[in-house]
């Protein structure tokens, strides 16, 4: 039986088309992945199928669910939970922060699936145990890790017995190992039903065999079997998306970096709050070298960089800078570019401030801007009026204007689209090498570090 059958479904705001007509069918036991950039309209399709489009938007075309045709919104709503359910983005935000994991799941079993309380309770306990979450049943969402919360959310979404599960960016904001866990758990928990996943991450699409649909600017550019498309993309956009996956990046040329030490940490231990993040850690960073630091979130990658830069005091041990330079030549790039630049004045003004402060050579800016792809027109805008990628490149420009000897890049691309991520990280490493600056690049993505760095440190 086809669970989902949509023909010529499009989404409009007023008369403007946001999503071009899409036709697809999904059988029981099938998986469909919709792949596309942020803002490409892929979430709109999910909302149209679910029937929870924002009020300003209208849907055209026909949606058949479970063999029922011409459903009204009300009929669609009646199916929520029992036949069709949606796993929203960042599910820890959609779980109740005051209830224990076990209670939430039991409630779903009781109210949505309509079981008796005792069956609901025993079923949810069994389910949690099966997911390897037996020990966290009594914990609240804030006491769970992102991956655990994600699995609880998946369990809740499927507890009502829904056969068709729509997962909207289920791995957003998770690091690689948690991402893989979540995708595996999603696959396992929707065995027998149908799964529609929306993602911008090619790696997620790769892990979910089945159908694949690539969306660009509200238009389907390619669809078919996921394996075929990913190994043999026909459309240029699909190719670009696949190449943006760090696994596909070309290896960085290993330029001989000097053996001269720039900065060393000698048996340092650092605390953040009351927690000691690392103890007795020693490392040397050489001149003109790109060092990658990998590790799961919360293991102290950023803290290490802050300690090297002297932004955090070390509890014991010491950090030695082997080169006597002005303090502003030790720079940092931040994870979230929009939070690291003031929005009060134009980027141009910020750059002029910097040039004036350190009496820099203003003529240096033009070639650097060209190299980083920043136009003069763009510089007239404020930080809120440019994209994240553009802003991160501006941050890089400001850092490079100071001729840094050391640049600590704290997940500089994790908030960016895969395509932008590729460009920015490539520029960062190349330009830094051209300028003879050492880079410590932090990321939760080991593939990216592998491709971009001369040396990798695992925490």
């Amino acid at each position: 039986m086809s669970l989902l059958n949509i023909s010529n479904v499009s989404v409009y705001v007023g008369d403007t088309q946001l999503l071009a007509p899409v036709t697809l069918t999904l059988q029981e036991g099938e998986r469909l992945t919709i792949l596309g950039q942020t803002g490409s309209g892929k979430s709109l399709l999910a909302q149209a199928i679910m029937g929870n489009l924002p009020k300003a938007l209208t849907r055209r075309g026909q949606i058949d669910l479970f063999g029922k045709t011409n459903l009204s919104l009300k009929e669609q709503k009646a199916m929520w939970g029992k036949q069709i359910s949606m796993l929203p983005q960042e599910p820890w935000n959609s779980l109740d922060p005051l209830m224990s994991a076990e209670r939430q799941l039991t409630d779903t079993e009781y109210y949505v699936a309509g079981k008796t309380w005792s069956t609901a309770l025993s079923d949810s306990l069994a389910k949690l145990k099966k997911l390897g979450l037996g020990h966290i049943g009594q914990k609240r969402v804030d006491q769970l890790s992102g991956g655990m919360a994600q699995r609880v959310a998946i369990a809740c979404a499927t507890a009502g017995g829904a056969k068709l599960v729509i997962a909207d960016e289920p791995t957003k904001g998770l690091d690689v190992s948690r991402r893989d866990q979540v995708v595996a758990s999603l696959k396992e928990q929707t065995e027998g039903g149908a799964l529609l996943t929306i993602t911008h991450d090619v790696a997620v699409a790769r892990q979910l065999p089945g159908k694949l649909m690539v969306v660009k600017n509200g238009r389907v550019v390619e669809q078919g079997e996921s394996n075929d498309i990913l190994s043999n993309p026909a459309h240029d956009f699909t190719k670009a998306l696949i190449e943006a996956d760090p696994l596909q990046w070309p290896n960085s040329e290993n330029l001989a970096s000097s053996q001269e030490k720039l900065i060393s940490a000698d048996a340092i231990s650092v605390k953040r709050g009351k927690q000691t993040l690392f103890n007795g850690l020693s490392l040397d960073i050489h001149k003109n070298e790109v060092v990658g630091i990998v590790g799961d979130s919360g293991c102290g990658k950023s803290t290490l960089g802050d300690a090297l830069l002297g932004l955090l005091p070390v509890e014991s041990g010491c950090v030695v800078k082997h080169e006597e330079t002005q303090p502003q030549r030790w720079q940092k790039l931040y994870q979230d570019p929009t939070a690291s630049v003031t929005h009060s004045v134009s980027l141009q003004t910020l750059l002029e401030d910097l040039i004036k402060l350190h009496k820099l050579d203003a003529s240096k800016a033009t070639p650097l801007m060209k190299r980083l792809g920043l136009t003069h027109e763009l510089m007239q805008r404020t930080a809120s009026e440019v994209s994240g990628g553009e802003l991160q490149r501006f941050c890089l420009l400001r850092a490079l204007m100071l001729e840094p000897v050391f640049l600590f890049a704290d997940e500089p691309t994790s908030r960016l689209d895969p395509l932008t991520q590729k460009d920015v990280s490539e520029l960062l490493v190349q330009v830094a090498k051209e300028q003879g600056c050492s880079v410590v690049l932090v990321s939760h993505d080991p593939n990216m570090i592998e491709k971009r760095c001369d040396r990798v440190i695992r925490l």
């Binding site: 303090p327 502003q328 720079q331 690291s340 402060l357 003529s363 003069h376 941050c395």
Partner: protein, 284 residues
Amino acid sequence: MMYTEANSPPTPTFRPTNRVKKAFRSATSQQWFGFAILATLLIFSFLAPHFVSVDGAEQDLGAILTSPNAEHWLGTDHFGRSMWVRLADAIALSFGLAALCVLTASTAGIALGVLSAWFPTRFGKVVELLTTILLALPGLVLVLIFAAIVPGSFWMLYFAIALIQWVEYYRVVRAICQPLIHSPEMEASQLMGFGRWYCFKRHLLPAILPQVLTIAAFGAANAILMMASLGFVYVGIQPPLAELGLMTVELFPYYSDAPWLLAEPLVSLAAMVLGCQLLGRRNA
């Protein structure tokens, strides 16, 4: 701007005119209405005395409690003084006090708020203790105490009102600055070598300014009301000076004979407060 022009005289980095322009562009119709009321009253208070030859203290006991006529456009009070001139004087006095209070309280509040967010242990604790002591008494009682020390002194009133009003600015500014001071954007600026003044100008001030302007508008309304309340209970400005609250209580006995006279200061007071309140409203 092209980079080759960077050698020409540097453009001024702080452009208050831009900020004013921006504020005007984003003003709501309510704010425009409030602004219009205040502007009208201000113009009246400055220009009105120039239209007539008498001053506010000149008595004419032959013409008391007259209704508005060609000679006295708003009538005369129980001593035959021109209401037109006295009202203008009283409004000017209220505006003056409000402006002084807002300026002093906001400057002190911003300075103390920013400094105690920056130095939470040394400086912050002392200021916090100070505000706790101040807030232990109701504001009006505090002002009454000060007003009673030197009765009728404008400067004492100003000092007392500003003293209780800075706390609000301080609290809001400190709350906004605390997270900002540890934010990546400030850290980035400091790593690039920018000093505290730059951080204040670029990071803190743009964040606190919209809030401070709102508090200032409401604060001005409160200062005006407070002075009028004190005048009404004879603790504030003393006769023969014209003050809205004092005029109200002086004209109160004649409300049945000359209701228009009582209405004049009351309407002016209400209009001033309304103007300030509307000006302080922003888009939700």
